[in-house]
Amino acid sequence: MKKLIKIEWMKVKDYRTFWVLSVLYLISIFGANLIAFRIQQSIFEREKTKMVANLFIGNTPYSFPSNWQMTSWLSSFLMFVPGLLVLISICNEYSYKTHRQNIIDGWSRSQFITAKFLFLFIITTISTLVVFIAALLFGFADGHTSFSLNDCQYIGYFFIQCLSYSSAALLIGVLLKRSGFAIGVYFLYATILENSIAGILNRYANNIGRFLPLESTDNLIPMPFFKSMQKQFLPDTSVALLLGIAAFYLIAYYVVVKKRFETSDL
């Protein structure tokens, strides 16, 4: 396994596109939270707005322990980027035909695809780590409450959500192969299409839209404010059920990707 990671590392180490996108992504996580944090500050600084905000939102979202949910939720809007990195990685192999060459040179097909899953896992881990650091940072910057690890399960949910988005990206990459096509489909599906389908299903089909592949992990980290209002629109779904569904989809991604790559012509 160490060997697979080492070779995957050799592939991206000198790949500038990958690093530029990664750095921009990490900066964006801090940037997005910084913007939200500044808005929070400007609302809670003035007495008038503070009273209204206290009434509707409660404590400052970036104070411990709600910072964990706030940061995870806000950062999840950038969720398509780790998936994009995975997509670029797999589609590059297809366009350079190096997926064939790696097999010809002596990797088994399962080694090749395992290396991609490891790559995806590492990207997810690093993303989660950065979100954890951002939550910690803004929690301390808020300063209204003292440090607390309560509710930091949201960081774990972020990890699962990120794993799910990148695995979906890998599946799309393996199925569509051509990078422009795959990136377009992934981007549209993750940002617009699934949300639309989920909205329609939730409205007309007994709320089953919340069980769609990406939507189910989105629902793990609900909006950290207006909770009572959300409850009027969506039925309460237990976290255990959502985790179960997430696990189901993750296993499905893994099985389909592996089977597809191991049995088809390359």
Binding site: K3, M10, D14, Y96, R100, I103, D105, G106, T263, D265
Partner: protein, 293 residues
Amino acid sequence: MQTVLSVKNISKKYGFIQALNNVSFDVPKGSVFGILGPNGSGKTTLLGIVLNVLQPSSGSFELLGKEPDADARKQIGTLLETPNFYHYLSAEKNLQIVAAIKGKGFNNIDNVLKKVNLLERKDSKFSTFSLGMKQRLAIAAALIVDPDVLILDEPTNGLDPVGIAEIRALIQTLSVEGKTIIMASHLLDEVEKVCNYVAILKKGILLTAGKVDEVLVNEEIVEVGCADLSKLMNVLSAYHPKQKDNLLQLYFKTGTAKLDDINKHCFDSGITLNHLHLKKKSLEAKFLEITNN
């Protein structure tokens, strides 16, 4: 005789197209084995199956005397169809990935780059290479583990005449060192120059396989003609004549056709020939004959 590769009844279908039809042959150890066929005859498909990038519809094969696995491929040097490398990486870093996949160290990289005249370009990105340089890098990659078996698909593709001569010389050197080389080519001339075994494919069907000097044997053709062809046919039946226009053709291995004997035999049988001509058959004609039937 040990076999390096044994292909058994391999067929491959792409939808309605039968790319390979029940192909079987053995590649003996130490041979330079040419797989010869026109474009689209299934050469690359066959090698793709042997290298596990394509799945056969039916049939099986043995590589290095056992069921094929990834470890067998690690010991083989391969160039399939086009040179496949990471465009954004340098020649050296691309070869490092190949070596790492094959479980080898990096100490042979400079050596193989030197062999294909790319050492001074080792830090250049693959995307900056010309077609011929890409091809030479692919050959360097095939040599990186100092393999006992090489599979080369159209190895001289895209090379200039000097490059072609260099690669052919390299193949001959490797062959002298006792390595087995399996080479696909659509160039008869190339196969004839470097190979000692050949398998000829056409539209996915194996037409013939064997030693080059037996399969691509040079022939002599004697054309004879007279007023009464049917009578001549009877008289010469021992030679298995074939009629072509208003002449009969008799086939002989090189150096065995004796015109005076034929003439005498006909005259003794009461036939006066009005045409008697010896033709040498070229390899191209032989190849066309094999692939046209």
